[in-house]
Structures are given as structure tokens and as C-alpha cells.
């Protein structure tokens, strides 16, 4: 049945944004945990741990996110795990976001001068204490602008979860198109909604970055 694209459809699309946001939040949490691990592996003093981190980043940044989504969605069921789009998406996005956040945070950790580590060492702090009390507090300040920037990337990429049937903004747009047959209007609305989410964040990231450069 074909019906008109009405204001109600716009409201449905707006409502579907909450799943986009929920997926972004899950991806950010999962990716944050993975990313933290990757960043720490990559600054580790023990070479094989650094290699593991490097290989992970190389592998994830060298494969399409779409492939990860499909591998988890279709792949986990063959080992006997019933996979909902939620679980597949959460796993794929955590892996994906972990590699990118890991690289961003590694850069921030390494941007802290070596003398800071040495100062910590000369005070008799252990490696973890140096990280905890000296390096991480300074690196966090550097990390915030690019992390916000990546968040925009993440919000946009949650749209790919639509292809495994995860109902978020883009999938809702597809469903609305199917009943109203107004692809141009629907996808324009969808694009506008993404823009409304991402543009303010982009501006925040830009402002934070500018402030950081002034401060230095």
C-alpha cells in the first residue's frame, strides 16, 4: 500500500534517531575499551605487545566496516550463537572504533615528551603509575578534540548497520521509502537529520582544537 509522506513519517524518522544514538553510544563504549587497550599495547615497552597492537590496527583499518558487520552477522551463527543485529553491530563497531580510537589515543600518548616519563621514573614511579599520574592526564587534554571528531565519523558510520537489518535512522528511511515511494524526500530528510546531529559536533571539535592550539 502506498501512502503519502506526511509529518508523521518525519516524526518516525526523528524517533529512529534514538537507535542511531544508542548504537553510537555502544560503539563508543566498546570501541573505547578496545581503543584504550590498543593504545596501551602500542606504547608498551615490550616489543611483541607493540606488534600485536600494530597488526590489529593494520588489519581493521585495512578492511571495510561492512565486511566486519557481515562476518559477525553471518559468521557467529555457524559457531552456534544466535546473533541478533544488535549483537553483531555492537561487536563489529567496537572492533572498528577500537582501531581508530586506539590510533588517535596512541598519538596523544606519544605526543607527551619523553622527559615527562623520565621525570616520573626518577621519582620512582612504576610504568603504570607514570601513565596514571603523569602521562594520561596530559594526553587526555590533547585527545578530546580528535575524539569528538571521530564521534562524528562513528555517527555517520552507524548508518551501515542498516544493511544487516538494524533499525536506525537509515533503515527507517528505507522502510519509509518502501511504503511512501518518495525516496528523494525521505532520504533528504534522513540526510538533514544526520546533519543536525553531526554538524554541531563538528563545530565543537573544531573549536576545541583551536583552543588547544592557542593554549600551546
Amino acid at each position: 500500500m502506498i501512502r503519502e509522506f506526511s509529518f508523521n513519517d518525519v516524526l518516525y524518522l526523528v524517533a529512529a534517531m534514538r537507535w542511531t544514538l544508542a548504537l553510537t553510544a555502544i560503539a563508543f563504549l566498546g570501541g573505547g575499551l578496545v581503543g584504550l587497550t590498543v593504545a596501551l599495547l602500542r606504547v608498551s615497552a615490550f616489543a611483541p605487545l607493540r606488534w600485536v597492537g600494530t597488526i590489529y590496527v593494520l588489519a581493521v583499518q585495512g578492511t571495510p566496516l561492512l565486511a566486519w558487520l557481515f562476518v559477525f552477522f553471518f559468521g557467529l551463527s555457524i559457531v552456534g550463537v544466535e546473533v541478533s543485529p544488535w549483537i553483531a553491530a555492537a561487536a563489529a563497531y567496537s572492533i572498528y572504533a577500537g582501531a581508530f580510537l586506539g590510533e588517535i589515543w596512541r598519538g596523544c600518548l606519544q605526543a607527551i615528551p619523553k622527559t615527562q616519563w623520565e621525570a616520573g621514573a626518577s621519582l620512582g614511579l612504576s610504568f603504570t603509575s607514570q601513565l596514571r599520574y603523569i602521562i594520561v592526564p596530559q594526553a587526555t587534554r590533547l585527545a578530546i578534540p580528535p575524539t569528538v571528531g571521530f564521534l562524528v565519523q562513528l555517527i555517520k558510520n552507524t548508518s551501515l548497520a542498516a544493511v544487516i537489518g538494524f533499525i536506525e535512522l537509515t533503515r527507517e528511511g528505507q522502510l519509509t521509502t518502501a511504503v511512501t515511494f518518495r525516496p528523494f524526500t525521505v532520504y533528504l530528510t534522513v540526510a538533514a537529520l544526520y546533519f543536525a546531529l553531526c554538524f554541531p559536533l563538528t563545530q565543537v571539535a573544531r573549536r576545541l582544537e583551536r583552543r588547544l592550539h592557542v593554549a600551546r
Binding site: 561492512l66 555457524i78 555517520k156 518518495r182 525516496p183
Partner: protein, 220 residues
């Protein structure tokens, strides 16, 4: 439940997958060239252009960078026909990807152009060079060297993002993979193989860009 991986059916379809790979490479190559052209033109307009040109370029860049590629694809492939513009899937994919990469390139190139010290431009002016000559002989080469790493990694991300065009049924590597999947029901195996191919492509592109940088920029 036990499951043994069987890659035989997937490898049997290698010729079919190869066709998809060819389109993926074509899409990547065309988009990289178009994206670089848009990037150079757009950035020059944004940095040196008059205001009536700066604003539309800024709007273009912000719009594209703040919306997902897949929605841009859907808008061009599914949406434009209702406005009377009908494109086949491959053309729509090429256009959407170029527009998308163009916007990111404008930002990268702009950063490169703005990183050239003002004194360099003034030195050109004091030698009596025209605006175009300054751009051609003073600005563009060092600027390209500065922006090259960022541009290269954006290009590789774009190459991976071409997989999204499978969703409008352009016959790229990812789309052929989903057809093999529906024929053989070897879901996991197909996507593992395809992911490995993308990974190999990404590494090859990375090496190519590193070689290009070495030969064009590092020797001078």
C-alpha cells in the same frame, strides 16, 4: 554444534569475484582522480576565491562531511530518478563517491595550502610573479608534499568505502561476494575471503602511495 569451514565453493567462483574486484579498482581510481581535482579546485576557491565562491564551497564541504555516504548514495540512486535524472548503479556510485571524496579532499588540500608561510608568497610577489605563477611555482608543490600523507590515507579509506556501493547493486567486489554467498550459503567464508582481499588492496595502495611520495617528493 561443530562446523567446518569450506572455502572450496568460494574459490570456485574466483572469476566472478575478479569481475567485482575490477569494478572496485575502477571506482577507486576514477574517484581518486575526480576527488583530487575537486579538492584542488575547491580548496583554491576557498582560500583564494571571491566570497560568492567561498560560501558555496564551504556549504558543499560541510553538507557532505556531516552526512553518511550511504545516504548520499541512496539520494543519488533512488532519489534523483523522481527528479527526472536516471542513472545506472555504477554511474551513480562513481558520482556519489567522487562528490564524497571531493569534500574531504577540499579540507585536506585547504590545510596544505594554508600551511605555506605567507613570506613564501610575498617572496614570489617581490620577484614580480603573477598570482597564477605564484600558485604554480611557489605554493602547489610544497603544499602537495605537506598534504600527501593525509590525502593518501583518505584515499585508502575511500577505497574501502567503495564496498558501500554494493547496497545500490553496483557490481563491485562486495556485491559479487553477496551473490556468491546467496549461491553457496558459505556466508562466513565468503566475507572472510573478501575481507582478506580488501586488506591486501589496502596494503598495496599504501605501498604505492609510499613509493609515489618517495619518487616525487623525497628526492628534492
Amino acid at each position: 554444534m561443530s562446523y567446518s569451514l569450506q572455502f572450496r565453493d568460494v574459490f570456485a567462483a574466483w572469476e566472478f569475484l575478479l569481475d567485482g574486484l575490477v569494478l572496485t579498482l575502477e571506482l577507486s581510481a576514477v574517484t581518486m582522480i575526480a576527488g583530487l581535482a575537486i579538492g584542488l579546485g575547491g580548496a583554491a576557491a576557498r582560500v583564494y576565491g571571491p566570497r560568492w565562491l567561498k560560501t558555496p564551497v564551504a556549504i558543499y564541504v560541510e553538507t557532505i562531511r556531516n552526512t553518511p555516504l550511504i545516504v548520499q548514495l541512496f539520494l543519488i540512486f533512488f532519489g534523483l530518478p523522481s527528479a527526472g535524472v536516471k542513472l545506472d548503479a555504477n554511474t551513480a556510485a562513481m558520482i556519489a563517491l567522487s562528490i564524497n571524496l571531493g569534500a574531504y579532499s577540499v579540507e585536506i588540500v585547504r590545510a596544505g595550502l594554508e600551511a605555506i608561510p605567507r613570506s613564501q608568497i610575498e617572496a614570489g610577489q617581490s620577484l614580480g610573479l603573477s598570482g597564477v605563477q605564484i600558485f604554480r611555482y611557489v605554493i602547489i608543490f610544497p603544499a602537495l608534499r605537506l598534504m600527501f600523507p593525509a590525502l593518501a590515507s583518505q584515499f585508502i579509506l575511500l577505497m574501502l568505502a567503495t564496498s558501500v556501493v554494493s547496497q545500490i547493486s553496483a557490481q563491485d567486489l562486495f556485491h559479487t561476494a553477496s551473490i556468491v554467498q546467496s549461491r553457496t550459503f558459505r556466508d562466513f567464508e565468503v566475507y572472510i575471503v573478501v575481507a582478506a582481499v580488501y586488506l591486501a588492496l589496502a596494503l598495496v595502495f599504501r605501498l604505492l602511495f609510499a613509493a609515489l611520495y618517495h619518487f616525487v617528493f623525497a628526492r628534492r
